[in-house]
Protein backbone atom coordinates (compact mmCIF):
# COMPACT_ATOMS: atom_id res chain seq x y z
CA UNK A 1 0.00 0.00 0.00
CA UNK A 2 1.14 3.53 -0.77
CA UNK A 3 2.40 5.87 1.97
CA UNK A 4 -0.62 6.92 4.10
CA UNK A 5 -2.02 10.34 3.28
CA UNK A 6 -5.27 10.26 5.15
CA UNK A 7 -6.27 7.94 7.97
CA UNK A 8 -9.57 7.45 9.75
CA UNK A 9 -9.19 5.96 13.24
CA UNK A 10 -12.26 4.63 15.03
CA UNK A 11 -14.56 7.30 13.67
CA UNK A 12 -17.99 7.43 15.29
CA UNK A 13 -20.74 9.71 14.04
CA UNK A 14 -24.33 9.69 15.22
CA UNK A 15 -27.11 11.70 13.65
CA UNK A 16 -30.66 12.67 14.39
CA UNK A 17 -33.12 13.49 11.67
CA UNK A 18 -35.89 16.07 11.90
CA UNK A 19 -38.66 14.85 14.17
CA UNK A 20 -36.63 11.90 15.48
CA UNK A 21 -36.16 11.56 19.21
CA UNK A 22 -33.18 9.19 19.17
CA UNK A 23 -29.79 9.34 17.50
CA UNK A 24 -28.81 6.62 15.08
CA UNK A 25 -25.28 5.50 14.32
CA UNK A 26 -24.10 6.61 10.86
CA UNK A 27 -20.48 5.59 11.33
CA UNK A 28 -19.54 3.00 13.90
CA UNK A 29 -15.83 2.93 14.79
CA UNK A 30 -14.88 3.24 11.13
CA UNK A 31 -11.18 3.00 10.31
CA UNK A 32 -9.46 3.20 6.93
CA UNK A 33 -6.19 4.36 5.40
CA UNK A 34 -6.01 6.21 2.10
CA UNK A 35 -2.59 6.05 0.46
CA UNK A 36 -0.83 8.97 -1.21
CA UNK A 37 -1.27 8.82 -4.98
CA UNK A 38 -3.57 5.81 -4.73
CA UNK A 39 -7.16 5.63 -5.83
CA UNK A 40 -9.60 4.24 -3.32
CA UNK A 41 -13.18 3.25 -3.88
CA UNK A 42 -15.71 3.18 -1.05
CA UNK A 43 -18.51 0.71 -1.62
CA UNK A 44 -21.52 -0.50 0.27
CA UNK A 45 -25.30 -0.69 0.12
CA UNK A 46 -27.34 2.52 -0.07
CA UNK A 47 -27.57 4.29 3.28
CA UNK A 48 -24.61 2.52 4.83
CA UNK A 49 -22.70 5.77 5.47
CA UNK A 50 -20.42 6.00 2.42
CA UNK A 51 -21.04 9.70 1.72
CA UNK A 52 -20.72 10.50 5.41
CA UNK A 53 -17.42 8.61 5.57
CA UNK A 54 -16.19 10.60 2.56
CA UNK A 55 -17.24 13.90 4.15
CA UNK A 56 -15.57 12.99 7.45
CA UNK A 57 -12.40 12.06 5.57
CA UNK A 58 -12.54 15.41 3.78
CA UNK A 59 -12.98 17.26 7.08
CA UNK A 60 -16.40 18.56 6.06
CA UNK A 61 -18.16 16.73 8.88
CA UNK A 62 -16.63 16.41 12.32
CA UNK A 63 -16.82 12.99 13.98
CA UNK A 64 -18.30 12.59 17.46
CA UNK A 65 -15.25 10.56 18.41
CA UNK A 66 -12.25 9.06 16.65
CA UNK A 67 -9.70 10.88 14.56
CA UNK A 68 -8.96 11.88 11.00
CA UNK A 69 -5.22 12.10 10.45
CA UNK A 70 -3.59 13.96 7.60
CA UNK A 71 -0.06 12.64 7.16
CA UNK A 72 -0.22 11.48 10.78
CA UNK A 73 -1.49 14.77 12.24
CA UNK A 74 -5.08 15.19 13.45
CA UNK A 75 -7.05 17.28 10.96
CA UNK A 76 -8.92 19.09 13.72
CA UNK A 77 -5.70 20.31 15.29
CA UNK A 78 -4.16 21.76 12.13
CA UNK A 79 -3.52 25.49 12.19
CA UNK A 80 -5.87 27.67 10.19
CA UNK A 81 -3.13 28.39 7.64
CA UNK A 82 -2.25 24.70 7.22
CA UNK A 83 -5.90 23.75 6.89
CA UNK A 84 -6.41 26.42 4.24
CA UNK A 85 -3.33 25.15 2.40
CA UNK A 86 -4.78 21.63 2.53
CA UNK A 87 -8.15 22.83 1.26
CA UNK A 88 -6.37 24.51 -1.65
CA UNK A 89 -4.95 21.13 -2.62
CA UNK A 90 -8.22 19.20 -2.36
CA UNK A 91 -11.44 19.05 -4.37
CA UNK A 92 -14.81 17.60 -3.44
CA UNK A 93 -17.57 16.64 -5.84
CA UNK A 94 -20.95 16.24 -4.12
CA UNK A 95 -23.49 13.53 -4.86
CA UNK A 96 -26.22 16.14 -5.37
CA UNK A 97 -23.81 18.63 -7.00
CA UNK A 98 -24.30 21.18 -4.13
CA UNK A 99 -23.71 24.10 -6.48
CA UNK A 100 -24.28 27.53 -4.95
CA UNK A 101 -27.78 28.32 -6.11
CA UNK A 102 -27.46 32.10 -6.01
CA UNK A 103 -24.40 32.13 -8.24
CA UNK A 104 -24.04 31.48 -11.96
CA UNK A 105 -22.12 28.42 -13.14
CA UNK A 106 -19.23 30.73 -13.99
CA UNK A 107 -19.25 32.17 -10.47
CA UNK A 108 -19.46 28.68 -8.97
CA UNK A 109 -16.20 27.78 -10.66
CA UNK A 110 -14.58 31.17 -10.19
CA UNK A 111 -15.09 31.45 -6.42
CA UNK A 112 -12.50 28.83 -5.36
CA UNK A 113 -9.94 30.53 -7.63
CA UNK A 114 -10.78 34.01 -6.34
CA UNK A 115 -10.69 32.82 -2.74
CA UNK A 116 -7.44 30.89 -2.86
CA UNK A 117 -5.66 33.14 -5.37
CA UNK A 118 -6.92 36.65 -4.58
CA UNK A 119 -4.10 38.21 -6.59
CA UNK A 120 -5.08 36.35 -9.76
CA UNK A 121 -6.22 38.92 -12.38
CA UNK A 122 -9.89 38.72 -13.35
CA UNK A 123 -8.84 37.99 -16.95
CA UNK A 124 -6.91 34.92 -15.81
CA UNK A 125 -9.80 33.72 -13.63
CA UNK A 126 -12.11 34.08 -16.64
CA UNK A 127 -9.66 32.21 -18.88
CA UNK A 128 -9.29 29.30 -16.48
CA UNK A 129 -13.01 29.01 -15.77
CA UNK A 130 -13.90 29.14 -19.47
CA UNK A 131 -11.25 26.54 -20.31
CA UNK A 132 -12.68 24.27 -17.62
CA UNK A 133 -16.26 24.78 -18.80
CA UNK A 134 -15.21 23.98 -22.37
CA UNK A 135 -13.56 20.74 -21.25
CA UNK A 136 -16.77 19.74 -19.52
CA UNK A 137 -18.97 20.81 -22.43
CA UNK A 138 -20.70 23.50 -20.35
CA UNK A 139 -19.39 26.57 -22.19
CA UNK A 140 -22.94 27.59 -23.17
CA UNK A 141 -24.12 27.43 -19.56
CA UNK A 142 -21.72 29.84 -17.87
CA UNK A 143 -24.36 32.51 -17.21
CA UNK A 144 -27.03 30.06 -16.06
CA UNK A 145 -27.98 29.39 -12.46
CA UNK A 146 -27.71 25.80 -11.15
CA UNK A 147 -31.51 25.44 -11.11
CA UNK A 148 -31.50 25.93 -14.90
CA UNK A 149 -29.24 22.89 -15.45
CA UNK A 150 -30.19 19.24 -15.68
CA UNK A 151 -28.92 17.02 -12.84
CA UNK A 152 -26.27 15.59 -15.16
CA UNK A 153 -25.00 19.05 -16.13
CA UNK A 154 -25.05 20.16 -12.48
CA UNK A 155 -22.92 17.15 -11.54
CA UNK A 156 -20.41 17.97 -14.27
CA UNK A 157 -20.28 21.56 -13.02
CA UNK A 158 -19.71 20.22 -9.50
CA UNK A 159 -16.90 18.02 -10.82
CA UNK A 160 -15.34 20.97 -12.67
CA UNK A 161 -15.54 23.09 -9.50
CA UNK A 162 -13.82 20.28 -7.57
CA UNK A 163 -10.88 20.19 -10.01
CA UNK A 164 -10.59 23.90 -10.84
CA UNK A 165 -7.72 24.29 -8.32
CA UNK A 166 -5.93 21.23 -9.82
CA UNK A 167 -6.12 19.31 -6.53
CA UNK A 168 -3.70 16.69 -5.29
CA UNK A 169 -6.52 14.95 -3.43
CA UNK A 170 -9.92 14.54 -5.03
CA UNK A 171 -13.07 13.31 -3.28
CA UNK A 172 -15.82 12.06 -5.57
CA UNK A 173 -19.26 11.22 -4.21
CA UNK A 174 -21.20 9.14 -6.74
CA UNK A 175 -19.82 11.07 -9.71
CA UNK A 176 -21.38 9.13 -12.59
CA UNK A 177 -25.17 8.72 -12.16
CA UNK A 178 -27.46 11.05 -14.21
CA UNK A 179 -24.69 11.91 -16.66
CA UNK A 180 -25.12 11.18 -20.36
CA UNK A 181 -22.67 8.96 -22.21
CA UNK A 182 -20.69 11.69 -24.03
CA UNK A 183 -20.29 13.80 -20.88
CA UNK A 184 -19.40 10.70 -18.90
CA UNK A 185 -16.59 9.90 -21.32
CA UNK A 186 -15.20 13.42 -20.87
CA UNK A 187 -15.39 13.12 -17.10
CA UNK A 188 -13.76 9.68 -17.13
CA UNK A 189 -10.94 11.05 -19.30
CA UNK A 190 -10.35 13.87 -16.84
CA UNK A 191 -10.37 11.50 -13.85
CA UNK A 192 -7.98 9.15 -15.67
CA UNK A 193 -5.67 12.07 -16.43
CA UNK A 194 -5.69 13.15 -12.77
CA UNK A 195 -4.92 9.62 -11.67
CA UNK A 196 -2.02 9.44 -14.12
CA UNK A 197 -0.50 12.65 -12.80
CA UNK A 198 -0.50 11.18 -9.27
CA UNK A 199 -3.62 12.75 -7.78
CA UNK A 200 -5.01 10.81 -4.82
CA UNK A 201 -8.64 9.96 -5.54
CA UNK A 202 -11.17 8.74 -3.02
CA UNK A 203 -14.50 7.90 -4.57
CA UNK A 204 -17.85 6.59 -3.49
CA UNK A 205 -19.42 4.77 -6.41
CA UNK A 206 -21.77 2.01 -7.46
CA UNK A 207 -20.42 2.24 -10.99
CA UNK A 208 -18.43 -0.91 -11.87
CA UNK A 209 -16.78 0.82 -14.84
CA UNK A 210 -15.51 3.72 -12.73
CA UNK A 211 -14.53 1.36 -9.91
CA UNK A 212 -12.55 -0.85 -12.29
CA UNK A 213 -10.79 2.19 -13.74
CA UNK A 214 -9.99 3.74 -10.37
CA UNK A 215 -9.61 1.21 -7.63
CA UNK A 216 -6.22 0.45 -6.18
CA UNK A 217 -7.77 0.12 -2.76
CA UNK A 218 -11.24 -0.77 -1.62
CA UNK A 219 -13.22 0.19 1.47
CA UNK A 220 -16.36 -1.88 2.02
CA UNK A 221 -18.99 -0.52 4.40
CA UNK A 222 -22.06 -2.07 5.96
CA UNK A 223 -24.35 -0.15 8.32
CA UNK A 224 -21.63 2.31 9.22
CA UNK A 225 -19.01 -0.36 9.92
CA UNK A 226 -15.93 -0.83 7.76
CA UNK A 227 -15.90 -4.51 6.80
CA UNK A 228 -12.75 -4.29 4.72
CA UNK A 229 -10.23 -1.58 3.89
CA UNK A 230 -7.27 -2.80 1.90
CA UNK A 231 -5.78 -3.08 -1.57
CA UNK A 232 -7.57 -5.26 -4.08
CA UNK A 233 -5.10 -8.13 -3.88
CA UNK A 234 -5.55 -8.41 -0.11
CA UNK A 235 -9.32 -8.34 -0.38
CA UNK A 236 -9.19 -10.88 -3.21
CA UNK A 237 -7.08 -13.21 -1.08
CA UNK A 238 -9.28 -12.87 2.00
CA UNK A 239 -12.45 -13.85 0.07
CA UNK A 240 -14.55 -12.63 3.01
CA UNK A 241 -18.08 -13.91 2.46
CA UNK A 242 -19.82 -10.76 3.75
CA UNK A 243 -17.60 -8.50 1.67
CA UNK A 244 -18.25 -10.56 -1.49
CA UNK A 245 -21.96 -10.49 -0.81
CA UNK A 246 -22.00 -6.71 -0.48
CA UNK A 247 -19.91 -6.25 -3.61
CA UNK A 248 -22.25 -8.47 -5.58
CA UNK A 249 -25.25 -6.46 -4.34
CA UNK A 250 -23.61 -3.14 -5.02
CA UNK A 251 -21.99 -3.63 -8.37
CA UNK A 252 -24.65 -5.33 -10.41
CA UNK A 253 -27.70 -7.48 -10.11
CA UNK A 254 -26.29 -9.57 -12.92
CA UNK A 255 -23.19 -10.41 -10.96
CA UNK A 256 -23.78 -13.69 -9.19
CA UNK A 257 -22.65 -14.19 -5.63
CA UNK A 258 -19.94 -16.63 -6.57
CA UNK A 259 -18.55 -14.51 -9.41
CA UNK A 260 -15.10 -13.18 -8.70
CA UNK A 261 -16.13 -9.55 -8.45
CA UNK A 262 -12.65 -8.48 -7.66
CA UNK A 263 -11.64 -9.69 -11.10
CA UNK A 264 -14.31 -7.39 -12.43
CA UNK A 265 -12.86 -4.60 -10.35
CA UNK A 266 -9.46 -5.45 -11.66
CA UNK A 267 -10.82 -4.89 -15.19
Amino acid sequence: MAEPLLELKGVVLASRGAGQSQDYMVLDRASAIFGKGASSVIMGPSGCGKSTLLKVAAGILLPDSGEVLLEGRPLQRLSEARLLEWRRSTGFMFQDAALWANKTIFENLALPLQFHHPSLPAVEVRRRVRASLERGGLEASEDLRPAQLSMGEAKIASFLRAIILEPELLFLDEPTPSIDHAALEKMMAMIREMKQRGCTIISVTHDAHLASMLANDLVVLKQGRVLAAADLATIRRSRDREVMEILSQVLSDAAAYDTDLLDLLGG
Binding site: R16, W100, L111
Partner: protein
Protein backbone atom coordinates in the same frame (compact mmCIF):
# COMPACT_ATOMS: atom_id res chain seq x y z
CA UNK B 1 -49.31 4.15 43.57
CA UNK B 2 -46.83 2.41 41.28
CA UNK B 3 -48.50 4.10 38.30
CA UNK B 4 -48.21 7.56 39.82
CA UNK B 5 -44.54 6.91 40.71
CA UNK B 6 -43.83 5.81 37.14
CA UNK B 7 -45.63 8.90 35.85
CA UNK B 8 -43.53 11.06 38.16
CA UNK B 9 -40.31 9.47 36.95
CA UNK B 10 -41.40 9.95 33.33
CA UNK B 11 -42.13 13.61 34.00
CA UNK B 12 -38.74 14.12 35.66
CA UNK B 13 -37.14 12.36 32.68
CA UNK B 14 -38.93 14.67 30.26
CA UNK B 15 -37.92 17.72 32.29
CA UNK B 16 -34.34 16.50 32.34
CA UNK B 17 -34.33 15.98 28.58
CA UNK B 18 -35.87 19.43 28.00
CA UNK B 19 -33.28 21.00 30.29
CA UNK B 20 -30.46 19.17 28.50
CA UNK B 21 -31.81 20.28 25.13
CA UNK B 22 -32.16 23.89 26.28
CA UNK B 23 -28.64 23.84 27.77
CA UNK B 24 -27.29 22.34 24.54
CA UNK B 25 -28.99 25.01 22.42
CA UNK B 26 -27.74 27.77 24.70
CA UNK B 27 -24.20 26.41 24.47
CA UNK B 28 -24.50 26.19 20.67
CA UNK B 29 -25.90 29.74 20.44
CA UNK B 30 -23.12 31.07 22.69
CA UNK B 31 -20.46 29.32 20.61
CA UNK B 32 -21.97 30.63 17.39
CA UNK B 33 -22.19 34.18 18.77
CA UNK B 34 -18.56 34.02 19.89
CA UNK B 35 -17.47 32.78 16.45
CA UNK B 36 -19.52 35.47 14.69
CA UNK B 37 -18.11 38.26 16.87
CA UNK B 38 -14.55 36.97 16.45
CA UNK B 39 -14.87 36.74 12.66
CA UNK B 40 -16.59 40.16 12.59
CA UNK B 41 -13.52 41.73 14.19
CA UNK B 42 -11.35 40.18 11.49
CA UNK B 43 -13.72 40.95 8.60
CA UNK B 44 -12.29 44.27 7.44
CA UNK B 45 -8.70 43.19 8.00
CA UNK B 46 -8.96 40.17 5.76
CA UNK B 47 -8.86 40.40 2.01
CA UNK B 48 -11.78 38.23 1.20
CA UNK B 49 -14.58 37.72 -1.24
CA UNK B 50 -17.17 38.20 1.54
CA UNK B 51 -17.01 41.98 1.17
CA UNK B 52 -19.27 41.80 -1.88
CA UNK B 53 -21.84 39.85 0.18
CA UNK B 54 -21.69 42.61 2.82
CA UNK B 55 -22.43 45.31 0.23
CA UNK B 56 -25.25 43.23 -1.26
CA UNK B 57 -26.73 42.70 2.21
CA UNK B 58 -26.82 46.47 2.81
CA UNK B 59 -28.46 46.86 -0.60
CA UNK B 60 -31.15 44.27 0.19
CA UNK B 61 -31.73 45.29 3.80
CA UNK B 62 -31.29 49.05 3.76
CA UNK B 63 -31.75 50.38 0.24
CA UNK B 64 -34.71 48.20 -0.69
CA UNK B 65 -36.47 49.02 2.61
CA UNK B 66 -36.25 52.80 2.11
CA UNK B 67 -39.77 53.26 0.63
CA UNK B 68 -41.57 51.29 3.38
CA UNK B 69 -39.56 53.00 6.15
CA UNK B 70 -40.26 56.41 4.61
CA UNK B 71 -43.99 55.64 4.38
CA UNK B 72 -44.30 54.44 7.99
CA UNK B 73 -42.18 57.22 9.49
CA UNK B 74 -44.02 59.91 7.53
CA UNK B 75 -47.38 58.54 8.57
CA UNK B 76 -46.38 58.19 12.22
CA UNK B 77 -44.78 61.65 12.40
CA UNK B 78 -47.71 63.30 10.68
CA UNK B 79 -50.17 61.60 13.01
CA UNK B 80 -48.29 62.77 16.12
CA UNK B 81 -48.08 66.35 14.82
CA UNK B 82 -51.74 66.52 13.81
CA UNK B 83 -53.03 64.86 16.99
CA UNK B 84 -50.63 66.74 19.27
CA UNK B 85 -51.42 70.08 17.65
CA UNK B 86 -55.14 69.46 18.07
CA UNK B 87 -55.12 68.29 21.68
CA UNK B 88 -52.08 69.65 23.57
CA UNK B 89 -52.72 73.44 23.07
CA UNK B 90 -56.12 72.97 24.72
CA UNK B 91 -54.27 72.18 27.95
CA UNK B 92 -51.67 74.89 27.43
CA UNK B 93 -49.02 72.24 26.64
CA UNK B 94 -48.48 72.96 22.95
CA UNK B 95 -44.71 72.68 23.30
CA UNK B 96 -45.00 69.15 24.60
CA UNK B 97 -45.60 68.17 20.98
CA UNK B 98 -41.86 68.33 20.33
CA UNK B 99 -40.97 66.28 23.38
CA UNK B 100 -43.60 63.79 22.30
CA UNK B 101 -42.13 63.64 18.80
CA UNK B 102 -38.65 62.98 20.13
CA UNK B 103 -39.84 60.36 22.63
CA UNK B 104 -41.99 58.47 20.14
CA UNK B 105 -39.93 58.76 16.97
CA UNK B 106 -36.32 59.08 18.10
CA UNK B 107 -36.27 57.15 21.34
CA UNK B 108 -38.95 54.49 21.04
CA UNK B 109 -40.85 53.70 17.89
CA UNK B 110 -38.20 54.76 15.37
CA UNK B 111 -35.71 52.05 16.31
CA UNK B 112 -38.40 49.51 17.20
CA UNK B 113 -40.54 49.85 14.06
CA UNK B 114 -37.41 49.85 11.92
CA UNK B 115 -36.38 46.64 13.66
CA UNK B 116 -39.81 45.07 13.09
CA UNK B 117 -39.67 45.91 9.39
CA UNK B 118 -36.17 44.43 9.09
CA UNK B 119 -37.18 41.29 10.99
CA UNK B 120 -40.07 40.76 8.59
CA UNK B 121 -38.02 41.51 5.48
CA UNK B 122 -34.43 40.47 6.10
CA UNK B 123 -34.63 38.24 9.19
CA UNK B 124 -36.91 35.80 7.43
CA UNK B 125 -34.93 36.07 4.19
CA UNK B 126 -31.62 35.25 5.91
CA UNK B 127 -33.08 32.38 7.95
CA UNK B 128 -34.75 30.73 4.94
CA UNK B 129 -31.75 31.29 2.67
CA UNK B 130 -29.32 29.70 5.12
CA UNK B 131 -31.77 26.91 5.92
CA UNK B 132 -32.12 26.05 2.24
CA UNK B 133 -28.34 26.18 1.86
CA UNK B 134 -27.95 23.65 4.67
CA UNK B 135 -30.41 21.25 3.02
CA UNK B 136 -28.83 21.52 -0.43
CA UNK B 137 -25.34 20.99 1.10
CA UNK B 138 -24.18 24.39 -0.12
CA UNK B 139 -22.72 25.14 3.32
CA UNK B 140 -20.71 21.90 3.09
CA UNK B 141 -19.56 22.98 -0.36
CA UNK B 142 -18.12 26.19 1.13
CA UNK B 143 -16.32 24.17 3.81
CA UNK B 144 -14.98 21.80 1.13
CA UNK B 145 -13.52 24.73 -0.81
CA UNK B 146 -11.95 26.11 2.38
CA UNK B 147 -14.29 29.05 2.78
CA UNK B 148 -15.36 29.52 6.39
CA UNK B 149 -19.19 29.80 6.26
CA UNK B 150 -19.15 32.01 9.36
CA UNK B 151 -16.73 34.45 7.75
CA UNK B 152 -18.21 34.33 4.25
CA UNK B 153 -21.95 33.84 4.82
CA UNK B 154 -22.73 34.89 8.37
CA UNK B 155 -20.49 37.88 9.10
CA UNK B 156 -21.41 39.89 5.97
CA UNK B 157 -25.09 39.37 6.80
CA UNK B 158 -24.54 40.11 10.49
CA UNK B 159 -22.64 43.33 9.80
CA UNK B 160 -24.81 44.24 6.80
CA UNK B 161 -28.05 43.97 8.78
CA UNK B 162 -26.60 45.80 11.80
CA UNK B 163 -25.27 48.68 9.68
CA UNK B 164 -28.58 48.76 7.78
CA UNK B 165 -30.69 48.96 10.95
CA UNK B 166 -28.57 51.89 12.19
CA UNK B 167 -28.83 53.71 8.85
CA UNK B 168 -32.55 52.99 8.52
CA UNK B 169 -33.19 54.21 12.08
CA UNK B 170 -31.47 57.50 11.23
CA UNK B 171 -33.52 57.64 8.04
CA UNK B 172 -36.71 56.89 10.01
CA UNK B 173 -35.85 59.75 12.41
CA UNK B 174 -35.19 62.16 9.58
CA UNK B 175 -38.40 61.35 7.73
CA UNK B 176 -40.44 61.08 10.92
CA UNK B 177 -39.31 64.46 12.20
CA UNK B 178 -38.94 66.52 9.02
CA UNK B 179 -40.80 64.70 6.27
CA UNK B 180 -43.93 64.55 8.37
CA UNK B 181 -43.62 68.29 9.02
CA UNK B 182 -43.94 68.91 5.30
CA UNK B 183 -46.88 66.53 5.08
CA UNK B 184 -48.78 68.28 7.87
CA UNK B 185 -48.49 71.61 6.05
CA UNK B 186 -51.43 70.45 3.92
CA UNK B 187 -53.54 70.07 7.05
CA UNK B 188 -52.19 72.49 9.68
CA UNK B 189 -49.68 75.22 8.99
CA UNK B 190 -46.78 75.48 11.44
CA UNK B 191 -43.91 77.90 10.64
CA UNK B 192 -40.78 75.87 9.88
CA UNK B 193 -38.51 78.07 12.02
CA UNK B 194 -40.77 77.61 15.04
CA UNK B 195 -40.94 73.88 14.42
CA UNK B 196 -37.17 73.52 14.03
CA UNK B 197 -36.22 75.64 17.05
CA UNK B 198 -38.69 73.85 19.32
CA UNK B 199 -37.67 70.44 18.02
CA UNK B 200 -33.97 71.09 18.58
CA UNK B 201 -34.72 72.44 22.04
CA UNK B 202 -36.49 69.20 22.91
CA UNK B 203 -33.76 67.01 21.42
CA UNK B 204 -30.95 65.97 23.78
CA UNK B 205 -27.75 64.12 22.78
CA UNK B 206 -28.94 61.27 25.02
CA UNK B 207 -31.97 60.84 22.76
CA UNK B 208 -29.77 60.36 19.70
CA UNK B 209 -27.44 58.08 21.65
CA UNK B 210 -30.37 56.00 22.91
CA UNK B 211 -31.69 55.66 19.36
CA UNK B 212 -28.27 54.61 18.03
CA UNK B 213 -27.61 52.13 20.85
CA UNK B 214 -31.02 50.55 20.32
CA UNK B 215 -30.52 50.28 16.57
CA UNK B 216 -27.12 48.58 17.01
CA UNK B 217 -28.53 46.13 19.58
CA UNK B 218 -31.59 45.40 17.42
CA UNK B 219 -29.40 44.86 14.36
CA UNK B 220 -27.26 42.37 16.27
CA UNK B 221 -30.35 40.57 17.60
CA UNK B 222 -32.15 40.38 14.24
CA UNK B 223 -29.16 39.12 12.27
CA UNK B 224 -27.97 36.68 14.92
CA UNK B 225 -31.42 35.16 15.51
CA UNK B 226 -31.89 34.75 11.74
CA UNK B 227 -28.50 33.09 11.32
CA UNK B 228 -28.97 30.86 14.36
CA UNK B 229 -32.37 29.69 13.15
CA UNK B 230 -31.11 29.18 9.59
CA UNK B 231 -28.35 26.88 10.80
CA UNK B 232 -30.79 24.88 12.94
CA UNK B 233 -32.29 23.36 9.79
CA UNK B 234 -31.07 19.80 9.45
CA UNK B 235 -32.48 17.69 6.67
CA UNK B 236 -35.93 18.66 5.47
CA UNK B 237 -37.35 21.58 3.49
CA UNK B 238 -40.40 21.51 5.78
CA UNK B 239 -38.15 22.82 8.55
CA UNK B 240 -37.49 26.03 6.60
CA UNK B 241 -40.88 27.78 7.09
CA UNK B 242 -40.83 26.66 10.73
CA UNK B 243 -37.49 28.32 11.43
CA UNK B 244 -38.57 31.43 9.51
CA UNK B 245 -41.54 31.79 11.86
CA UNK B 246 -39.26 31.23 14.85
CA UNK B 247 -36.81 33.85 13.56
CA UNK B 248 -39.66 36.39 13.40
CA UNK B 249 -41.12 35.47 16.81
CA UNK B 250 -37.79 35.40 18.64
CA UNK B 251 -36.65 38.56 16.86
CA UNK B 252 -39.75 40.49 17.98
CA UNK B 253 -39.58 39.24 21.56
CA UNK B 254 -35.85 39.84 22.00
CA UNK B 255 -36.02 43.31 20.42
CA UNK B 256 -38.89 44.34 22.70
CA UNK B 257 -37.03 43.01 25.76
CA UNK B 258 -33.83 44.79 24.73
CA UNK B 259 -35.84 47.96 24.12
CA UNK B 260 -37.30 47.77 27.62
CA UNK B 261 -33.87 47.22 29.18
CA UNK B 262 -32.23 50.11 27.28
CA UNK B 263 -35.16 52.43 28.12
CA UNK B 264 -34.87 51.49 31.80
CA UNK B 265 -31.13 52.23 31.70
CA UNK B 266 -31.91 55.59 30.03
CA UNK B 267 -34.13 56.63 32.92
CA UNK B 268 -31.86 55.36 35.71
Amino acid sequence: MVGSLAGGYAMIGRLGRSFNQAAGELAYASGLLFAVLKESLLFFRRRQVGFRVFILQILFTAVEALPIIAFISLALGALIIVQGNSILPRFGQGKLLYTLLIIVITRELGPLLTAFIIIARSGTAIATELGNMVISHEIEAYVAVGINPIAYLVVPRFLGVTVSVVLLTLYFNFFGLFGSFLLTQFVQRIPFNEYLVNLLAALAPADILSSLVKSVVFGVIISFVAVYQGFRVKVSSTEVPQIAIKAVGQGFVLCILADAVITLIYYL
